[in-house]
C-alpha cells in the first residue's frame, strides 16, 4: 500500500475505524445513557467531515485506479457526512421516545455512511458493488430496527428482498460489462470503448446496471417498494434513507454513466428521458391521494428522484453535460436539507404506535407551535419550488440545463408536475394554518436545532446560491 492509496481512502478509513471502535465502546455505556454513543458517532462524522473539507482541491487515485478522491467525491462525501450528522440528530430523541434506543443504531448508521462515501469514490465496478452492499445491509437492519412493530419488520423484509433482487441485476450487469470490455475498471472501460464499436453485450450490461441503481434511488418503474418501506421504517431511519441512499445511488450512477458510457449515450438518453418523466408524473400524481404524511413524503421522494434524473438526460451532449450534472448536484443538496427538515417536523409530531402521522393531526399546528408550522411551510415551499427557498433555485438550474440541451418537453413536464405537487404540499400548509385542532408536538433540543438549521439553510442559500453552484460545477469539471 502506497502513500497515495492511504490518502485516497483515509476519509473512509477514519469513519470505519471509528465505527468499529464505537461498537466496542458502546458495550461499556450503560443502557440508559446511549445518548453518549450518539454524541460519539456525531463526533466521528464531524471529524471525517473536517478532514474531507480540508482535502478540497486535491485529487488522488489509489489501489490501481479502483478508488479516487477527486473534487466530485469530496463534494458528495461532504454532503453524505452532513446527512449522517442530521440523521444522528434526528434519531437522538426519536429512538429514545419510541423505546428502540440501542447503541447499534448509530454504528449501523456510520457503516452505512461509509458505504455511501465509498460509492462516491469508486472508480471500479467491483468497488461500486461492494460499496452498494455496504450501504444497503446496515439500512436493511435499520429499517427493521423497531423489531417489535410489525410495520417496521415488514419494511425491513421488503427492503431487503427488493434490495437483494436489485443487486442481482447489478452484479449480472457488471458481469456482462466485464465480458464486453475485459475489465471492470471505469477508466479502462472508457479506453476500451473509445477504440472499439459498441457491442450488444455492453448495452445490455449497462441497462442491467441501470436497473440495479434504479431500485436504489427509487425511480419508476422500480419504485414499488418505496412507499411501504419509507412508511414502515422508523421515521428517523426513513429521513436518513431518503437522503443518503439517494445521494450515493445518484453519485455512482453519475460516475459510471457519465464517465464510462458516453458511447451508448444515444440509446441511454431516451431511456433516461422516459424514466425521468414517468417518475415525476407518477410520484407527484400518486402523492395527491395520500393522507399519511410519511407516505406523502415517500411519494414526494420518488418524484424528486425524477427531477434529479433530469440532470442525466443530456449526458451524451458534451457542451451541456457539465452544467446539467452540476445542476443535479445542486438539486441534491437542496433536496437533502429540505427533506431532513420536513422529516424533522414529522418526527416532532409523531407519537408512539404510529399515531400523529395523519395529515389531520397537523390541524392547528400554527396556533400551538408557530415556529414548527413556519418551518414546515418553508420546507413545503422548497419541495414545490417556490421562493424564497433553495428548492426553487435548484429547479431553475435544472430546467435551464435541460432546456439548453434541447429537451424542452422534459422541462415542461417538470414544471407541470411541480404545479401538481403544489396541490398536496400546500394542503399540509392549509391544514396547519386554517384548521383547528389540538396537535401535541415533542420539543427536544437536537430536533429543534436540526429543524432550525435546515430551515435556515433552505432560505439563506436561496439568496446566495452562486457559491454552491460554483463549487458543484468545479467538482464535476474533472469527471469528463
Amino acid at each position: 500500500m502506497t502513500q497515495s492509496d492511504l490518502t485516497t481512502i483515509l476519509p473512509v478509513t477514519i469513519l470505519t475505524v471509528w465505527a468499529c471502535v464505537l461498537l466496542l465502546v458502546d458495550l461499556l455505556i450503560p443502557k440508559t445513557r446511549k445518548g453518549i454513543t450518539a454524541l460519539l458517532s456525531a463526533l466521528g462524522l464531524a471529524v471525517t467531515l473536517g478532514y474531507t473539507l480540508a482535502q478540497i482541491g486535491s485529487e488522488v487515485t489509489g489501489f490501481n485506479g479502483m478508488v479516487t478522491l477527486d473534487g466530485f467525491s469530496i463534494f458528495v462525501n461532504a454532503l453524505l457526512l452532513v446527512s449522517g450528522l442530521l440523521g444522528v440528530a434526528l434519531a437522538y430523541g426519536y429512538i429514545k421516545r419510541m423505546g428502540i434506543e440501542r447503541g447499534e443504531y448509530y454504528t449501523l448508521l456510520l457503516f452505512s455512511v461509509v458505504g455511501m462515501m465509498l460509492m462516491a469514490q469508486a472508480t471500479d465496478l467491483i468497488v461500486v458493488f461492494l460499496a452498494l452492499e455496504l450501504l444497503s445491509i446496515p439500512l436493511y437492519v435499520l429499517a427493521a430496527f423497531a423489531r417489535d412493530k410489525t410495520d417496521s419488520e415488514e419494511a425491513g423484509l421488503k427492503y431487503f428482498l427488493l434490495g437483494a433482487f436489485s443487486s442481482g441485476f447489478l452484479v449480472y450487469g457488471i458481469a456482462l460489462i466485464f465480458g464486453a470490455t475485459h475489465t471492470t475498471n471505469i477508466f479502462a472501460i472508457v479506453e476500451f470503448v473509445s477504440t472499439s464499436t459498441g457491442s450488444l453485450l455492453l448495452t445490455i450490461g449497462a441497462a442491467l446496471l441501470l436497473i440495479g441503481f434504479g431500485f436504489k434511488v427509487a425511480v419508476v418503474p422500480f419504485h414499488m417498494w418505496t412507499p411501504d418501506v419509507y412508511q414502515g421504517a422508523p421515521t428517523a431511519v426513513t429521513a436518513f434513507m431518503t437522503s443518503g441512499a439517494k445521494i450515493a445511488g445518484f453519485a455512482a450512477l453519475l460516475r459510471v454513466f457519465a464517465t464510462a458510457f458516453p458511447s451508448i449515450a444515444a440509446d441511454m438518453t431516451n431511456v433516461f428521458w422516459v424514466i425521468s418523466a414517468a417518475t415525476m408524473i407518477l410520484g407527484n400524481v400518486a402523492a395527491v391521494a395520500q393522507t399519511d404524511i410519511k407516505r406523502l413524503l415517500a411519494y414526494s421522494s420518488i418524484a424528486h428522484a425524477g427531477y434529479i434524473l433530469m440532470a442525466f438526460v443530456p449526458y451524451g451532449n458534451e457542451t451541456v453535460v457539465a452544467t446539467s450534472v452540476a445542476a443535479g448536484l445542486f438539486y441534491l443538496v437542496a433536496y437533502v436539507f429540505t427533506n431532513f427538515g420536513a422529516w424533522g417536523v414529522v418526527i416532532a409530531l409523531e407519537k408512539e404506535a404510529g399515531k400523529g402521522l395523519a395529515l389531520d393531526d397537523y390541524a392547528g399546528l400554527a396556533k400551538k407551535h408557530p415556529a414548527l408550522a413556519a418551518a414546515m411551510t418553508i420546507f413545503m415551499l422548497s419541495l414545490i419550488g417556490l421562493p424564497p427557498t433553495i428548492g426553487l433555485i435548484g429547479k431553475l438550474y435544472l430546467f435551464r440545463a435541460v432546456i439548453d440541451a434541447g429537451f424542452v418537453w422534459l422541462a415542461i413536464i417538470g414544471v407541470l408536475t411541480s404545479v401538481v405537487s403544489a396541490f398536496y404540499y400546500l394542503r399540509v400548509v392549509v391544514i396547519m394554518y386554517m384548521k383547528d385542532g389540538e396537535p401535541a408536538a415533542e420539543r427536544e433540543t437536537w430536533l429543534d436545532t436540526t429543524t432550525l438549521v435546515t430551515a435556515l439553510v433552505t432560505v439563506v442559500v436561496s439568496f446566495i446560491p452562486q457559491f454552491l453552484f460554483a463549487w458543484a460545477s468545479e467538482a464535476v469539471l474533472k469527471l469528463f
Binding site: Y140, L157, A175, G179, Q290, D292
Partner: protein, 100 residues
C-alpha cells in the same frame, strides 16, 4: 475446451430462472433462494469470462460476490425469522399491513 458462449447461455438461463422465481413465488425463503441463483448466475458468467481473458480480476470479483452474499444471508434470514415469529408465516402476500 467448451466455448465461452455455452457458459454465458447457461448463466443467462439461470439468471432468468432466478428473476422469474422472485416474481412468481410467494414464499420469502424461495424468493431469497432465487435471488441467490441470480447472484450465482452472475458468478458463473464472471468466472467464464475471466478464464477466457486469462485475467484474475474476474475470479477475485467472484470471491467478493460470495462474501457479500453470505453477509446478505445473515441479515436476510434474521429478518425472515423475525417475521415468522410474529406472523407464523413467511408468505409475502400475508406481509401486507402497509398499503395505500
Amino acid at each position: 475446451m467448451i466455448p465461452v458462449d455455452y457458459y454465458i447461455i447457461l448463466s443467462a438461463i439461470l439468471f432468468t430462472i432466478g428473476v422469474l422465481g422472485v416474481l412468481v413465488r410467494r414464499n420469502a425463503l424461495i424468493i431469497f433462494m432465487s435471488i441467490e441463483l441470480m447472484l450465482n448466475a452472475a458468478n458463473l458468467a464472471i468466472v467464464a469470462f475471466g478464464s477466457v481473458f486469462e485475467s484474475f480480476s474476474g475470479q477475485i470479483f467472484v470471491f467478493f460476490v460470495i462474501a457479500v452474499a453470505a453477509a446478505e444471508v445473515a441479515v436476510g434470514l434474521a429478518l425472515i425469522v423475525e417475521i415468522f415469529r410474529s406472523k407464523r408465516s413467511i408468505d409475502v402476500d400475508q406481509v401486507s399491513s402497509l398499503k395505500g
